[in-house]
Amino acid sequence: MALTLLRGLKTHSFRLYPSLHFTRNHGVLYFSTKSTQGQTATREKQHTRLKVSSKPESVKFDEISKNYEAVIGIETHVQLSTLTKAFCSCPYNYGSQPNTSVCPICMGLPGALPVLNTKVIEYAVKLGLALNCSLSLNSKFDRKQYFYPDLPKGYQISQFDIPIALGGYLDVDLPVEFGGGHRKFGVTRVHMEEDAGKLLHTGNGNYSQENYYFLLIGIVDLNRAGVPLLEIVSEPDMRTGIEAAEYAAELQRLVRYLGVSNGNMQEGSLRCDVNISIRPIGQLEFGTKVEIKNLNSFSSMSRAIDFEISRQALLHSLGQADEIVQETRLWEEGAQKTVTMRKKEGLADYRYFPEPDLPSVNLSEEYVNEIRDSLPELPEMKRRRYENMGLSMQDVLFLTNDVNVAAFFDATIATGADVKLATNWIMGDVAAYLKNEKLSINDIKLTAHELGELIASIKSGTISGKIGKEILFELMAKGGTVEGLIKEKDLVQIVDPTEIEKIVDKVLANNPKQLEQYRGGKTKLQGFFAGQVMKETKGKANPGLLNKILLDRLNSKS
């Protein structure tokens, strides 16, 4: 971590005011398909620009933090993109007017009963298999009981002692600019549960007295209540903010590849709670665990963890380790720090017991095998395949980051296009266009087939690379075919030497003065003549041929 991040830490009456600054601009390598969907771990352009602190504290801090190791585990809630909620037939659409997508069941009205949406099981099995878990063929639902105004029944339907999937792992390739490397992070369990509603007017997560009275006059939105979730609990295998953020980003990639969730963090479709403790390097026991909530992006996750590591390391070094207590801390994006949200007073007793309103969940081997056979190629398999195709890890990570980009790439090379050329086009001009226009690759008119045609047309010399670029923008914005555009705009490259000779001769004849200057030694004028020829041919002259013929003519003493 010290390799990648520098911090400027000032201490002020034992409180930390972090100004965590990243050493590089991470916007380069990665792009998002849509601004609302595209946060990926290290891929967001950091708002805080590099400011390497020269303050002695930061040096001192690096010294301190070198002696500690962080142990990080993550609980992730993934909202499933089923058409209807987990136990009723209400649809869920993010951003709907409060309490417009509710019914007696998800409102927990007296007498209403839950009935499981079987899609939830299908999605859970998909994710369980994709996370290399073993599946519980006989699992069940349990009630987790606690009081909170956003929980209409006074309990959450969840899974307790027999989760649907257990004991898997997630493969992650760390970004090259963070040192790269492959990691396997353990997954403890995956279980199904229902989401709670939302309290309105609690924007900053500050559950004040005032808000509490708001609740009583009905400011609870139950649209989200009963929406199916998968909770994925990781092993405490992560050691740095980047590793944690990459784990979460890979999980996002996975659910998107599987089509089980949109994985959108801002909308809350993917929510990560981080558990973190630090211990002196070499010590086996874990330190006191702190939970961090309110992480709305991968970068805030990474920054929150790094902040927390520094906070805890500093307390250790000051001999105040006992001030690290079991608590839930909130990440404050504005202040770039974590603050105490609530201290945990002993263990919460959720009084779990088997949900009597729902039958047990029994899966047959055939059912599981059917789903296993229907799984798409997953990010890890794709990365290894692309790697074997000879692509660099940077390219591999770029292409596999977004399932749609990967599909586009696969379709392009399926047309026979050169792998490296296809990669360059997609990562270069296509990506830039998407970024500028804030579009996803599925939004543009360009098809993989036409990109293949374009690459083939350049390779065969039908058009020049420069014209290829022009056509590409046309194809992305308006669509059409490469062949059609070449015909329509008469863009076929002139590769006939005699035709080029004719034009060269015409240009030389029209510019006797410049010709004389050239022959007098002003050889820089070659560019002028080349430009004139290009102008005459509307850029269609084959550049190599043109230069060769032009030089011949310029230097011949006829």
Partner: protein, 525 residues
């Protein structure tokens, strides 16, 4: 003073006697109603009026109902039905049948309070599946009946609103928790009614009020819209003044419901076809049926008069051709503690939703926890609070294994022992309750004594089996004696057999009229 009704009922020894047959043919109010409507002997409006009149007359003494809609609302439905009859339109199987609904079963057009202050004036936006089905069959809902709060109690005294009196003796309880539904059918305030049975809440009041109570197999009837008490035990059950009525009512509400994942998708047999008329009977109509009398239910702790009534009923079954043996269920006594742990545990969870945020009176405090605590402390009655506390305790970390888990193990043992006994017998027999109806207030301050009264019924819920309770005799008490009920327990989903045996038993039982004194003068079957 012994009245004539207190004499031991006699078996009708010559079932072919036509005079007797004619009298017994009409014991089903549903069948009679249908016949007289179709033949235009009476109109739905006249029928409804006579019931409403009786209801208004008796209700001040009985307090069976928590809500009765304005007469016009009921009569409007009867008028619509009469129009249909006039136009010779097809009639539903329950056309014109006046039904009372226990107030923990949701009705969209009437309040549904579950007998709790927390749900005072609560109007559900939907009908329970059972109610929806009844209405679709042409039934007319005449009101919502009283109950122990959320179904927790055996006397209906734990209602937050009123105490219901037993029509046989107004100083006695009607039983509970479906006391209102049982009293209403007994006093002919309605023809049939729905109750719910978690540990005996249909069967024990049926016994106390001298009516037929049917607890179906768990899953036979959808629970959707039944305010949950203990989800794994709750079933909606039927009350009627005859086995046929209870059976026909069950027929109309049974079946799989996509809104209840615990409802069974087994096909529903036509229970109504069971109800043979008396002149079709052979001399030994129940020949060869194996009847097991549960030894543990006729021992200490059961009133001697109840035991003797049940023994007489067993002899009656023997005379009808049954092969009677005594069976032992050693796990029987374990049922009561297991039941109270499981039912309390589930109820502590099911009642969490009444948190003061959405229902009931909000009691504002300094913080969120006191909102919950104070609102619930004020909203719930003491019986409910006691069960929530017991259940919360049983589910708490450190106690779960000793209580909840152990009770589940006992439940499995009980289920298995019933299964074994029912493999060897067609039905099992026990009293419906250890005593007849007791005095109002008598057990109010002795919850353990009240809980002990549930011993006959709770095992059946733990095993998920169907059971039929029907009046089989009287013991001394009140002005005309107090009815005793016999319980017949069947194999899972074998309601058909229970109804068949019950019907023949009822049709051949002579010398008993289970019409309570409060309406005896005006009721002519």
């Amino acid at each position: 003073m012994l009245s004539s009704a207190q004499t031991t009922p006699r078996l009708l020894r010559s079932p072919t006697t036509t005079a007797a047959a004619a009298a017994l043919k009409c014991s089903s109010q549903i069948i009679t109603t249908r016949k007289s409507l179709i033949s235009r002997q009476t109109s739905a409006v006249d029928l409804a009026k006579s019931f409403l009149h009786r209801l208004r007359r008796t209700e001040p003494q009985l307090n069976s109902f928590l809500y009765v809609p304005p007469d016009e609302a009921v009569l409007k439905q009867a008028e619509d039905l009469d129009k249909k009859i006039k136009n010779n339109e097809e009639l539903g199987p329950l056309a014109g049948v006046l039904v009372g609904i226990k107030d923990n079963i949701c009705t969209y057009d009437m309040p549904s309070t579950a007998g709790s202050k927390l749900l005072e004036n609560y109007r559900p936006p939907y009908d329970a599946t059972a109610v929806r089905k009844l209405r679709a069959c042409g039934a007319i809902v005449v009101g919502k009946t009283n109950l122990d709060e959320f179904g927790m109690g055996s006397t209906t005294e734990a209602s937050a609103y009123q105490v219901t009196a037993n029509p046989w003796d107004l100083s006695r309880v009607p039983g509970g928790s479906s006391g209102g539904s049982a009293a209403a059918v007994s006093a002919r305030q309605c023809m049939v009614s729905l109750g719910s049975d978690t540990g005996g809440s249909v069967r024990q009041p049926a016994s106390f009020c001298g009516v037929v109570g049917l607890k179906p197999t768990y899953g036979r009837v959808s629970r959707y819209g039944l305010v949950s008490y203990a989800s794994s035990l709750d079933v909606i059950g039927c009350f009627g003044s005859s086995v046929a009525d209870a059976g026909i009512l069950l027929n109309s509400i049974s079946g799989h419901d996509k809104n209840d994942a615990t409802s069974s998708s087994r096909e529903v047999p036509d229970y109504a076809s069971q109800f043979l008329e008396i002149d079709d009977l052979e001399s030994k109509p129940l020949k060869g049926l194996r009847v097991g009398v549960i030894r543990e239910t006729l021992e200490d702790g059961v009133d001697l008069e109840v035991i003797s009534s049940v023994r007489d009923a067993v002899s009656h079954l023997e005379e009808l051709g049954c092969l009677v043996t005594e069976v032992s269920l050693p796990s029987f006594s374990l049922g009561l503690p297991a039941y109270y742990i499981l039912a309390s545990s589930e109820s502590s969870s099911n009642l969490s939703r009444y948190d003061g945020v959405r229902y009931g009176n909000q009691v504002f405090g300094d913080e969120l926890n006191s909102l919950y605590g104070d609102s619930r402390a004020q909203g719930f009655g003491s019986e409910v609070k006691m069960r929530i506390l017991m259940g919360t305790y049983a589910l708490s970390a450190g106690y779960y294994d000793a209580y909840y888990k152990r009770a589940q193990q006992v439940r499995t043992i009980i289920r298995n022992s019933f299964k074994e006994a029912l493999d060897k017998n067609d039905i099992l027999i026990s009293p419906a309750a250890p005593s007849v109806a007791y005095k109002i207030g008598e057990k109010k301050n002795d919850p353990l004594a009240m809980y002990a009264g549930d011993i006959m019924t709770v095992n059946v819920n733990l095993a998920g089996l169907p059971a039929l309770v029907l009046p089989c005799g009287f013991v001394e008490g009140g002005s005309k004696g107090l009815p005793v009920g016999i319980q017949m327990i069947g194999a899972a989903f074998d309601e058909e057999k229970l109804l068949k045996i019950g019907h023949i038993f009822e049709q051949t039982l002579q010398g008993c009229s289970f019409v309570p004194p409060i309406v005896a003068d005006e009721w002519t079957p």
